[in-house]
Symmetry: C2
Subunit: 370 residues, 2 copies
């Protein structure tokens, strides 16, 4: 399994793995793929810096990338204190009432409360970029399309290519016009922010629209080698995977408190996700749990726009996380969750994917046959 | 491009083409695929019988199938006169008002009004099966899952295999348990009735669930050879295509008044569809037009359950059809509509698909490379 992407990034396998866990990202890179560390969890750039130093020491010299969340235009900005004034009381009350109904306790007295997830703020995402560029990163990906032009220029000045997610062919064209180097075609079935066009249709459209100018990675629905083979048959130069890595042993090394979440993922089918605005204010696919169901009840308020919705729910997420109840989880995941049936090591996941890829290509060769 | 499906059905290509047009169905069969004629448009079984006689004379001795719409449990039944009493005045008034607002004129004086589309009724669908079994059909497909057990038995008594659509793996298992011979895995991106799981995820799940017991056809998002290659890599034994055939010359031979609809399809992108209950009462993907938009306005009533919704809108569809305005069309179509950029002959569509399939397999062979 080798494409031009491998030469471009100096990797053995055209498998890009997005994850908020540095242990997972490093393991993906060590196994021959490109681990991409999600930065949104770092409120503090110094904290990210420390983790990237760890990455530098633990990827065995293999390339890795980072993923930031940065709208191309600067949204409502300010400190979390300013912004929280914009959150209506009705929304706060709904969250409190819902957590009580779901049996999610308050955080223990004295817990250090996080001030929301500031990674969603433009200024914080910019500080992530600044810090990341001091490390030997191979890619900056932006989960919200093209970053602002000066950020793209800054990355290019450091010789670092930029990737951007696209849910429509016209967005992909705009990204490449803006100087983006790699397009991630994010199909409807993907976890996190996603559009309405499914991978089977979206991917070849984006390849036809920009494939001559930029490599296209397939995101959404990729969890097995068969799906990777399908993506490459559709013209992708590689695959962008995310959900797959949530059910790994290495994930627990970074976030040991995630066992309940992993139990929930392993128990879910492909029908157990929902595309909703409750996580960030923009449509994102999440695991369907009692928490997401509460938000789809008729009494639930409309989600707030980005970045307010995340500021609203971030403290609730902390409580949900601490409660460790698999029936009340708030986690972005794609429809591929139905394939997550056990917790495995990253290297085993990749080995299985490669074997399945070979079978799929063999099958297709047989089909061409006569 | 050859799979076990070819031997099973005595066809050259594992391409099944669903269409309400006998001219298209016959052309697909003549070109080496399996044309499947949609029967729902026939209110009168004698009319279907006549068209099947035409098929027998025009497929050049090649196999063809039929598609009926039959819930496995008998729904509200009765003549159209009985059922129409169950349609609320509010719904009728909304339809009348909307047609006026969209500038859709009344049918000309003296036009023979159809009594709704009775093909959705159980008794009518049964009459379709009766008539079809008097012809040398190679397949009966049911667009609503397993047909009732006695209908499956009746088909098998005539040596005719039965296919059923499935949008979840558990439905596919139930179909095969019920005696269904071929499963059509219908992804979210498909036109017409569809579930929420996209083809990239759904198809291999269904193959893993029933692939040892029944061949699986990939439906949803299949319009090019690349997509056919992806589907076969994912384990399908063939592809089930529908939207593709709406933009063919042969379609106009059956329904010459469909030029406005074809213009609308050719002008649409993959983002121009909507999944809604307004066509039949169950979620179905339609071309997004001023008609579907009107139904998503806050003043629009909730769609009625099947079969009432179709009885409500069928006379409106007749008026819309006669008005021939590409901006007001009511037509089931999948996200693949973005690939329909010109009106072609069926044989040319198939030729293009095969060439694209070969390129995709070549590309994948190159990827395996080192």
């Amino acid at each position: 399994m080798r494409t031009a992407l491998c030469d471009r990034f100096g990797i053995d396998l055209p498998i890009v793995g997005f994850t908020p866990s540095e242990h997972v990202a490093a393991a993906i890179s060590r196994a021959g793929g490109l681990g991409v560390l999600g930065c949104v969890r770092f409120n503090d750039a110094a904290e990210l810096d420390k983790v990237l130093h760890w990455m530098d020491a633990n990827t065995g010299g293999k390339p890795y990338g980072v993923d930031v969340v940065m709208p191309s235009t600067v949204p409502t900005e300010g400190s979390s204190v300013d912004l929280t004034k914009l959150i209506p009381d009705e929304h706060r009350a709904f969250v409190e009432r819902t957590l009580a109904e779901l049996g999610v306790p308050e955080l223990p007295e004295g817990t250090d409360e996080r001030a929301g997830v500031l990674g969603w703020l433009h200024s914080v995402a910019r500080s992530h970029v600044e810090v990341a560029l001091e490390h030997p990163i191979a890619l900056i990906a932006n989960a919200l399309g093209s970053p602002p032009p000066d950020v793209i220029a800054q990355a290019h000045d450091h010789g670092v290519p930029v990737a951007a997610l696209a849910g429509k062919a016209e967005h992909a064209v705009r990204h490449v016009d803006n100087g983006v180097d790699v397009v991630v075609a994010q199909g409807y079935e993907a976890g996190g922010h996603t559009g309405e066009i499914a991978s089977m249709v979206l991917l070849p459209e984006i390849v036809d629209a920009v494939g001559e100018r930029a490599p296209v990675l397939a995101a959404g629905g990729i969890g097995t080698g068969r799906q990777a083979a399908a993506a490459l048959a559709l013209g992708a130069e590689g695959v962008w995977t995310g959900s797959l890595w949530l059910a790994t042993r290495e994930y627990l090394e970074t976030m040991p408190e995630s066992e309940a979440m992993q139990r929930a993922l392993v128990g879910a089918t492909s029908a157990d996700t929902v595309r909703t605005r409750i996580y960030t204010g923009k449509p994102a696919r999440l695991l369907k749990t009692r928490w997401t169901e509460a938000w789809s009840s008729p009494e639930a308020p409309e989600p707030l726009p980005m970045p307010l919705q995340n500021l609203l729910v971030a403290p609730a997420h902390d409580r949900i996380h601490a409660a460790a109840d698999p029936s009340v989880v708030s986690m972005p995941v794609g429809q591929i969750v139905g394939r997550l049936t056990e917790i495995r090591a990253v290297a085993d996941v990749i080995e299985g994917l490669l074997a399945d890829f070979e079978s799929a290509v063999d099958r297709l060769d047989g089909v061409r046959g006569s």
